[in-house]
Amino acid sequence: MLILFFNQMKVLLLLLMTTACAALTQDLSGKMFTFPLETNSAYVKFNTSGRDFNAITVCHRSFTDLKRDHGLFSLSTPNNANDFLIFWDNTNKEMEAHIKNKKAEYGGRDYKPNTWHSICTTWDGTTGLTQLWFNGQPSIRKFTNSGSSIGGPVNIIVGQEQDSHGGGFDIKQSLVGMMSDVHMWDYVLSACEIQNYVDERNFTPGNVLNWRALDYQIVDKVLLEHKVTVCY
């Protein structure tokens, strides 16, 4: 009788822990996600309750040696696989921001392999303007679309590029390398705040996704590691 009771308690405890784990956020300061293999299945999903965005800023740092197309940040809603996508087009050598399926291309960026790049992308649904900040350097402000928000439950993925809401991955668009310091805001960051992010000074963390309090799920082979730091 006692053994049965203990077994039931173990199951209850396990259940409790699983649900608690799913809702826990982690402070990933000083850490990075490592995508060590080319697959069409390995990714990290970022969870947020946010929906109906009238403005977005996404910042992240990435490191790769890929010489092909790859997605860096993929946000989909039930209506749009590419509601907010940051994508490197290796054929045209340009960084692309896809907002609600409209593409803004930014060429002439020195997207060197084997070095960390800080990339911030802003979109304002009122003016419809999109801007890319590459290692702190602004691009021109381009019109993509205005008048309607990015609505609905969002599915945010790093490591793969969504061609459908939560799926449709292509191995030849996957990220192999490292990703860190991902933040997302529901407003457009000022030039000064973006500079603070790039220079790793004090900045206001994301209010949609916060690397210091991140709710995420790893699927398949992705590792959470310490960022390599210099010896002192």
Partner: protein, 224 residues
């Protein structure tokens, strides 16, 4: 009386000068219609200096500042042949070519051009660095009703736009004087401080009309 009042209101709306200090015009897409239209009551200019700051990633030819008269569509035109690293200044429909002026993509740059009818010489200053002085034409002033377009290149007085000559990017601090600025004054303009504002066009008191998608936005300044 109502019509008169309406007319007055419309006319005054178009004529209210705005202080665009710390602001920029953003031309966010390639069109053959979006432009800022500037006019001035000044009609007889024996010398001209125009300065502005611009930011673009265009690799094709584009107009930066297009001033037309009824008889000269390129009366004073800054034309960047970006693909060839070559720049053209047009005065009263005569062009002078400037090579190797080091125009950069995705970077704010300050440009000034001076011309006077006496010598007929045009000179460009890019980020404070002078170009060679080149002859266009002398003997006649820039004379007549002036229409200036930012964002498009005029092939006729106020129109004749070509999408493949349009400007996409940002522009700020536009000034125009009816005399040649000295190199020292141009240096002050380039550094952004303590320069005499334009007496034909003054960014801090600009009368303009926006046509199509051109936005007035705050300049994106670095942390102070």
């Amino acid at each position: 009386y109502q019509m008169l009042l309406l007319l007055l209101l419309v006319a005054s709306c178009a004529a209210i000068p705005q202080n665009l200090s710390e602001k920029m015009f953003t031309f966010p897409q390639e069109t053959n219609t979006a432009h800022v239209r500037l006019t001035t009551s000044r009609q007889n200019l024996p010398a001209v200096t125009v300065c502005f700051r611009f930011f673009t990633d265009l690799k094709r030819a584009h107009s930066l500042f297009s001033l037309a008269l009824p008889s000269f569509d390129n009366a004073f035109l800054f034309y960047n042949l970006a693909s060839l690293d070559s720049f053209q200044m047009w005065v009263r429909n005569t062009a002078a070519n400037f090579e190797g002026l080091d125009f950069k993509l995705n970077k704010w740059q300050s440009v000034c051009a001076t011309w006077d009818a006496a010598s007929g010489l045009v000179q460009l200053w890019v980020d404070g660095k002078p170009s060679s002085r080149k002859f266009t034409n002398s003997g006649s002033n820039i004379n007549g009703p002036i229409i200036i377009a930012l964002g498009q290149e005029q092939d006729s007085h106020g129109g004749g736009f070509d999408v493949k000559q349009s400007f996409v990017g940002m522009m700020s601090d536009l000034h125009m004087w009816d005399y040649k600025l000295s190199p020292c004054e141009i240096q002050k303009y380039t550094n952004g401080r303590g320069y005499a504002k334009g007496n034909v066009l003054n960014w801090n008191s600009l009368e303009f009309q926006i046509v199509g998608r051109v936005l007035i936005e705050n300049k994106q300044n670095a942390c102070q």
